[in-house]
């Protein structure tokens, strides 16, 4: 399949990364999955190739090795039409409060590393004059919560980074930045958690929304599970004096 479009998923061993890549593959896009856990990424790549018949490759990448990010982007044999970054880690908030190293890892994984990487793509896409950058952030970044504020703060940073990047690139025209805020998604990361059923979606729902926001109905910021938009609007509107006394 030459001449078709291509997508690169950073975090290709994750459930959302897998579902997203599969969604694009079903439309004939060529797929590359980049991940630290190559075996897991390969399992996803095999699945995508078998289901869709589309060429799928994997690439090794540890985003925390930030010194290597520029080299990674420069070294790609094809610069993708769309790059989707689903890198993230919930981390253990309680432990992070007493373990600065873990706190640092949460911040770096959810904010520093994805931002530095997407900056590289922004430059490469701007030089080419086209491309879509999709950053998967989280509703957890909309308001700090007692139960996950390292994760939330890092996602807040990432959301703002994407927002700023979008504004910078908007002036140039052809490069788009999409911010995706999933709420509760049933994935490996949340497998052990009780999630509120009406607000919980499957990874393929996130994938569908990403595909739409990129290809069929371009949007800048999307909340997956639309009712989450309302939930977050209410949560964000609560005065801090009240919010701090609530257990949510």
């Amino acid at each position: 399949m030459t001449g078709t479009k291509s997508i690169l998923v950073i975090g290709g061993s994750s459930d959302i990364g897998h579902a997203t890549a599969l969604r694009y593959a079903k439309e004939g896009w060529r797929v590359t999955l980049a991940a630290r856990d190559l075996a897991a990424a390969q399992r996803n790549a095999d699945d995508i190739r078998t289901r869709s018949g589309v060429d799928t490759t994997v690439q090794s990448l540890d985003v925390l090795q930030t010194g290597q990010l520029a080299g990674f982007v420069a070294g790609l044999s094809v610069l993708p039409d769309t790059v989707v970054c689903v890198v993230g880690e919930l981390g253990d908030q309680l432990r992070a409060q007493t373990d600065p190293e873990l706190a640092t890892t949460i911040i770096r994984t959810n904010f520093e590393a994805p931002s530095l990487l997407l900056e590289q793509f922004a430059q490469a896409f701007a030089a080419r004059g086209s491309g879509t950058i999709v950053g998967v952030s989280s509703v957890a970044g909309d308001r700090g919560r007692a139960s996950n504020y390292y994760y939330g703060a890092a996602k807040a940073g990432f959301t703002q980074f994407l927002s700023g990047l979008r504004n910078r690139l908007a002036l140039a025209g052809k490069v788009r930045v999409v911010t995706v805020k999933p709420g509760f998604v049933r994935t490996k990361m949340t497998a052990h958690m009780k999630l509120p059923a009406p607000l919980t979606v499957q990874p393929d729902r996130v994938a569908e929304d990403i595909y739409r926001a990129d290809v069929t109905r371009p949007r800048d910021v999307i909340y997956v599970a639309r009712r989450f938009w309302l939930v977050m609007a209410i949560i964000c509107a609560l005065p801090e004096t009240i919010f701090k006394r609530m257990r949510i």
Binding site: A40, R43, N44, D46, D47, R49, T50, R51, S52, G53, K188, A191, H192, M193, K194, L195, P196, A197, P198, L199, T200, I248
Partner: protein, 456 residues
């Protein structure tokens, strides 16, 4: 934030049931996300069994201590178009396979009445389709699988490797180990359509005559009106079908696309479907309409898409809820050929006099079984649903006596209540399964509520 969780286990466990919503039992639920993790979950546990999509009706997929879901084992591995061989993990469903390969002109030669089952579940029950009398069970399309034994060893089973374990796993109801992945052979098809012939049979004998004289049809099944009595006892619509060729389409439906886009309309039964709708008057009316409509199509072959043809019930999500909170059991027996007419007539007569069975019963011809524990044997199988009630189990015990006397057996994938004696008299292959369980150390380690109840 807290709230209802679906299928996620508390430290204290979760209440699980099969498709019949009876019985509901507490168990720890594990949800490994890869074959390797599934094997690790199995390692060192006891009272554990694998679970696929939970489409077995009774207690087969509920471990006495813990239950390992295969739903995270949902990746496909590879497909070779030249040999039509597909390798997939055990939690991939038949629906997944058809969604990916039907548009490319491949189908599965054996499918049960719902596509929402996993490959692991289909192997473990050696499920049969409407073509069992001709083509055999699901096991016939399986070339090999990898099985995790309770000790953590992973063995490859096929017709040339670990042969006894391969055979005992077909129909072994998860009691030989956890299937991690499998290689199947797909069936090339020319179109997505079936060429269906409908025959009306005035009573049970006529229905069996029809099935018998059309034994060369690829697919055949009879829908029996359970409410008809007396001379009309067992009146049925007999459906015969073949995969339609391109030429069939040219002839019977020139406007049809050979592979139409799937339409995804799904109705859902509300959580508390009023059980009072299932009364005799409404059922009688439904059956009358159903049979008149069927009779109107008699004689003219029609093209029917594979989805409604094979999976009519899948169009209604959660239809099992119509039986209400107490749940229901499905009764599926098979009676050997020579005794089938007389014994099935006796069973149907008792059922119609009792009057609380499902609207419709299904009658199918079966061929020889696959593994020692596979349900099919050469004869006729009858399937009916009964809402759970205080008098039901005593009534079904009476039916069991007829089945045992005729040398028949009950389907474990549907069972929730048969006795050990009924089970043991129906499954002479049990000794082979017990041997294997002994050898692999599975005896107490792998245990479902079904195996505990029946002493497997």
């Amino acid at each position: 934030m807290s709230g209802r969780a679906s299928g996620i286990s508390d430290p204290g466990g979760i209440r699980l049931s099969g498709w019949g919503n009876y019985p509901k039992i507490s168990t720890e639920l594990l949800a490994p996300q890869s074959p390797a993790a599934a094997r690790d979950d199995l390692l060192g546990r006891s009272g554990v069994v694998a679970r696929g999509a939970g489409r077995a009706y009774g207690d087969a997929a509920i471990g006495t201590q813990a239950t390992i879901s295969s739903r995270g084992l949902n990746r496909m591995r590879r497909f070779d178009a030249a040999t039509a061989q597909l390798t997939i993990e055990a939690g991939v469903t038949i629906a997944d396979i058809l969604a990916a390969f039907e548009p490319r002109g491949f189908f599965l030669k054996v499918v049960p009445g719902t596509k929402l089952v996993t490959v692991g579940g289909a192997i473990a029950a050696d499920v049969h389709g409407k073509n069992h009398h001709r083509d055999g069970g699901f096991g016939t399309i399986v070339d090999s699988f990898r099985l995790a034994l309770p000790g953590g060893e992973i063995v490859c089973c096929s017709r040339s490797e670990n042969v006894a374990l391969f055979a005992a796993t077909l129909g072994g109801m998860g009691l030989t180990g956890m299937i991690l992945d499998a290689t199947l052979r797909l069936l090339p098809i020319e179109t997505a359509w079936l060429r269906q012939d409908t025959r009306v049979a005035g009573n049970l004998d006529a229905a069996i005559d029809q099935l018998e004289s059309n034994a060369s049809s690829t697919y055949s099944v009879a829908w029996i009106d359970c409410l008809a009595r007396g001379a009309a006892l067992g009146r049925s619509l007999v459906y015969l079908a073949e995969h339609a060729t391109r030429r069939d389409i040219d002839r019977l439906g020139p406007d049809l696309a050979p592979f139409p886009n799937p339409r995804t309309q799904r109705l859902s039964v509300p959580e508390l479907f009023p059980a009072w709708l299932l009364n005799r008057a409404s059922m009688r009316m439904f059956n009358e309409l159903y049979f008149r409509r069927g009779a109107a199509h008699q004689g003219e072959p029609r093209l029917v898409h594979w989805n409604p043809y094979f999976f009519p019930l899948d169009a209604i999500a959660d239809w099992n809820r119509i039986y209400g909170r107490r749940g229901f059991v499905q009764y599926q027996c098979v009676i050997p050929l020579e005794r089938a007419r007389r014994v099935l007539a006796d069973i149907l007569d008792r059922v119609s006099r009792r009057g609380d069975a499902s609207f419709l019963a299904v009658l199918k011809q079966l061929g020889d079984g696959g593994g020692p524990m596979s349900f099919p044997l050469r004869g006729y199988t009858l399937t009916m649903d009964f809402p759970v009630s205080d008098t039901l189990f005593a009534f079904l015990d009476q039916l069991d006596a007829l089945v045992v006397d005729a040398g028949g057996r009950l389907y474990l994938a549907k069972d929730a209540r048969q006795s050990r004696a009924t089970f043991e008299s129906g499954y002479p292959g049990l000794a082979a399964l017990r041997d294997i369980r002994q050898q692999t150390g599975a005896t107490t380690r792998l245990a479902s509520h079904l195996s505990a109840r029946l002493g497997i």
